[in-house]
């Protein structure tokens, strides 16, 4: 093995009009290493990956592959050079079945199947149309497709962000083995647990420029965070939720009361309450019915049985606007679902104001401006590219989806994985925000794919497995081991090893910063 870098990029620059996505980024990856690419939202990580793989063209910069300057102009070129990306958005063709997708990219089928099994999906139907496959599985298939051609450099852009813990864990294992086999991986994630469990070195980007390269060793997280954010932050970030802060469930009737909710085979007999001023967490592995639960509460689909009471009176939602009328707002995890990408930040935030026909008339611009900028300020949205939401970074887009309901002053917010793909700083803000909302007597239902968030934000957590609520914990008891066990449908108290994440002790240095 040589010590010459496999991939060496220097001085990469990319401007989008006035916005500089990358100013002076460099990245050097050695053979056989798992190299983390880190940075806050909008730092330019995805942009760099896209440039390295020919998906977009850099304005300037030099890229050497195995010491040679290669002209990578399209993903097909990158593929030939042995560099395979898994982008932040799924890349399977929605209307083709999996097999055709493989043929399209010239991926060998058998290795692909093997990888898919390895990654924890034993029963994939290869003739299934991609459109009908859940997002998390699609991400895994994307990865398997890249692995199947044995790439020299694998570039994973927030691969684990949309994955439930069980799948994420398999992915991490596989990625680690790639490094062991002498192949390189560029790994983007906002989760320090993953970085420290997996990576050898990390390159940190800030505002489009590389600000440092560090070896991953215990205790390095703080330095990374420091570099990423450019400021020294408090050593121990206190949990957003103070231990003594008890739900102000003011004895009155619950804000939201769900009884025996039924939805085909997806939800079974789901009952729980959400009090005013309470944040209730929902924890589940992928596809246990949490999507359906949120969709039903948001008025997107109609339950087949059971009742929902809001403030003690029964409601039936046939459209999201009914739910909104009842003060219930839904923030989807996929921001592409929530935002009008070509419209301005302002219009996106103000969208609910015009929804009802009686609000179709002239807009009171001044009043709207006040409300909207209040929300923007509250979430500290980076508005440099506010003319079109699509030009914001992923994290800032996510903030807009929440800002909308802050502006509309919704009483209950259903947050479906709101911190997916969001940097540590922003995450803290969101946690704080959710707690503040609770403090104002609002109620939040909060699904997350990251366990430690449960402790930071929630008062209570309900665990769903197979469409049923299998357990409800007060937050004090919701340590990761307990949550994990419940999420796998194991009875409380049973001792079982459920993978590497269970080994990470709560409060270990690895996650102090995240």
């Amino acid at each position: 093995m040589t010590t010459n870098p496999l991939l060496d990029a220097t001085g990469v620059t990319k401007n989008y009009g006035a916005v500089a996505a990358l100013r002076n980024a460099s990245l050097s990856v050695l053979p056989g290493e798992v190299h983390a690419l880190m940075g806050a939202n909008g730092a330019g990580k995805s942009t760099l990956v896209k440039i390295l793989t020919g998906a977009i063209k850099a304005d300037a910069g030099r890229i050497l592959i195995r010491g040679q300057q290669l002209d990578v102009r399209s993903p097909a070129d990158a593929r030939r050079a042995g560099m395979l990306p898994v982008y932040q958005e799924p890349a399977l063709i929605p209307d083709l079945d999996v097999l055709s997708n493989l043929r399209l990219t010239g991926t060998p089928v058998e290795p692909f199947r093997a990888w898919v099994r390895e990654l924890g999906i034993p029963d994939l139907d290869i003739r299934e149309t991609a459109r009908h496959i859940p997002l998390a599985i699609l991400r895994v298939l994307d990865l398997a497709r890249a692995l199947a051609v044995e790439p020299d450099v694998l570039l994973l852009d927030e691969m684990t962000a949309a994955l439930p813990a069980n799948l994420a864990e398999k992915v991490l294992e596989v990625v680690r083995r790639q490094g062991d086999a002498g192949r390189s991986v560029i790994f983007i994630s906002h989760r320090f647990v993953e970085i420290s469990a997996l990576c050898d070195r990390a390159t940190v980007l800030r505002d489009g420029a590389t600000v440092g390269v560090v070896d991953i060793e215990p205790g390095i997280e703080e330095r990374i965070v420091e570099m990423m954010l450019g400021i020294r932050i408090e050593k121990t970030l206190v949990a957003a939720r103070a231990a003594n802060e008890v739900a102000v469930a003011g004895g009155g009737r619950p804000r939201l009361s769900v009884r025996n909710l039924q939805l085909g085979t997806k939800l079974n007999d789901v009952s729980f309450d959400l009090a005013n001023g309470e944040v209730v967490g929902v924890f589940a592995l992928e596809g246990q019915g949490q999507d359906e639960l949120f969709a039903a509460l948001a008025g997107s689909i109609r339950p087949t049985g059971g009742t929902i009471d809001v403030d003690g009176s029964p409601v039936k939602f046939s459209h999201p606007s009914d739910a909104i009328q009842a003060g219930i707002a839904y923030v989807p995890g996929d921001r592409a679902e929530a935002l009008a990408m070509q419209r301005s930040v302002r219009e996106n935030i103000a969208l609910p104001f015009s929804a009802a026909p009686r609000k179709w008339g002239p807009i009171r611009m001044r009043r709207e401006q006040v409300v909207v900028s209040g929300a923007i300020g509250r979430l500290q949205i980076d508005t440099r590219a506010q003319g079109e939401v699509q030009r914001l970074s992923g994290g800032n887009q996510q903030k807009v989806t929440i800002a909308r309901w802050i502006a509309a002053n919704a009483r209950t917010i259903l947050c479906f994985d709101p911190t997916r793909g969001i940097d540590v700083g922003t995450k803290q803000e969101i946690y704080k925000l959710l707690r503040e909302l609770a403090g104002q007597g609002k109620s939040v239902l909060f699904y997350t794919s990251e366990m430690e968030e449960v402790q930071r934000v929630c008062d209570r957590v309900i665990v769903i497995f197979g469409g049923r609520i299998v357990d409800t914990f007060p937050v004090e008891e919701a340590d990761e081991a307990a949550l994990m066990r419940a999420a796998y449908g194991l009875p409380r108290g049973a001792k079982a090893d459920v993978g590497i994440l269970a080994e990470v002790k709560p409060g270990s240095s690895a996650e102090a910063a995240s």
Binding site: A55, P75, I93, L96, K266, I301
Partner: protein
């Protein structure tokens, strides 16, 4: 099985509708026979090619408003070349005109790629350009077609081993249609190029990121569309014996049949079989209306209503049939 129904249910339903219409036709006009079926096949011919042309680009996520104008141009070119020429000369004319369709189609695609103007606008502009070119080739309907070409759509195909009464139901026009479509479509469908066409229609960004040469694939899709349109233009010249520079009603008909045939406007879905069956359905409806001597003005109403009703029905069953629990 359920996947087959999900993918092919629409085509199967359409086919059932076609059979039903044949039964109705037989009831209206008990004398309806193989000769009349031959007439139907001949009427279908230009429409079927127009629809094939439209289908390819719609699957690739585009639309081609210049289909009818392209047919007019290729038709007048063929007719004026064959005017006064020998029978053998047509052997050269046919491939020439097909190549011309291919090249002009590719030009459509190249203009879309190079100018980055939306396809609907580029092909709208090309509609005017091709119409103009057709008028320069032939100022008025005219020209001629070789006799052997004209004969190639009249009569039936004798199939060895089949009794005469069965042969009578295989008109040459139908055989010609099937052969021409299959020669292009079947190899395409099986090739990576075919997959690429579906891919760019389904999700262009994802296709690009999967290594599909998006621009080249789009040009190829339009070139194939041009090829089918040229076949349509030739079939017009063959069946009428002349070329007409003013485009026929094939644009609207092709869009309607594509949608009736279960190919989603927007791309990525569907096949060629559905739209072709839809063409037969639409033509047979016209035959039935003529057989019933319905007031001609009501015909337009009925045709429009069928189009709207069938598509609404299709939308309705997709809304109802959406799997429970899928997040809308």
């Amino acid at each position: 099985m359920s996947r087959f129904l999900r993918n092919q249910g629409w085509v199967a339903g359409l086919f059932a509708l076609l059979i039903f219409l044949f039964v109705v036709t037989k009831l209206i006009q008990p004398g309806y026979g193989s000769g009349d079926f031959g007439s139907l096949a001949r009427a279908v011919l230009p429409y079927a090619f127009a629809v094939a042309a439209q289908t390819v680009v719609v699957i690739a996520g585009g639309i081609d408003l210049s289909v009818a104008a392209m047919m007019a141009l290729t038709s007048v070119t063929a007719a004026s070349m064959m005017n006064g020429a020998s029978e053998e000369y047509a052997l050269f004319v046919v491939p020439f005109v097909l190549a011309m369709g291919l090249v002009l189609g590719a030009l459509n695609g190249a203009l879309i790629v190079v100018t980055r103007v939306p396809d609907i606008v580029v092909t709208l502009a090309m509609l005017f350009v091709l119409q103009g070119a057709a008028l320069l080739v032939l100022g008025a309907p005219g020209g001629a077609a070789a006799e052997w070409l004209k004969a190639s759509v009249i009569g039936t195909v004798p199939i060895p081993g089949l009794p005469d009464w069965a042969d009578a139901w295989v008109p040459k026009a139908l055989a010609l249609l099937v052969v021409c479509l299959c020669i292009v479509w079947i190899p395409l469908r099986r090739s990576r190029l075919g997959l690429s066409i579906y891919a760019i229609g389904s999700n262009e960004l994802a296709a690009f990121r999967s290594g599909v040469p998006v621009a080249r694939t789009r040009i190829v899709a339009y070139a194939l569309s041009g090829l089918f349109a040229a076949m349509g233009g030739l079939s017009l010249t063959i069946s009428t014996g002349i070329g007409a520079p003013i485009p026929g009603p094939y644009l609207l008909a092709s869009v309607a049949a594509v949608v009736l045939g279960g190919v989603a406007l927007g791309g990525g879905k569907g096949g060629l079989l559905g739209p072709i069956i839809a063409v037969f359905v639409l033509r047979l409806v016209r035959t039935d209306l003529t057989l019933l001597a319905i007031d001609p003005n009501v015909t337009a109403i009925i045709e429009g209503a069928i189009m709207v009703a069938v598509v609404m029905f299709g939308a309705f069953i997709t809304i109802r049939g959406r799997p429970l629990g899928a997040t809308p």
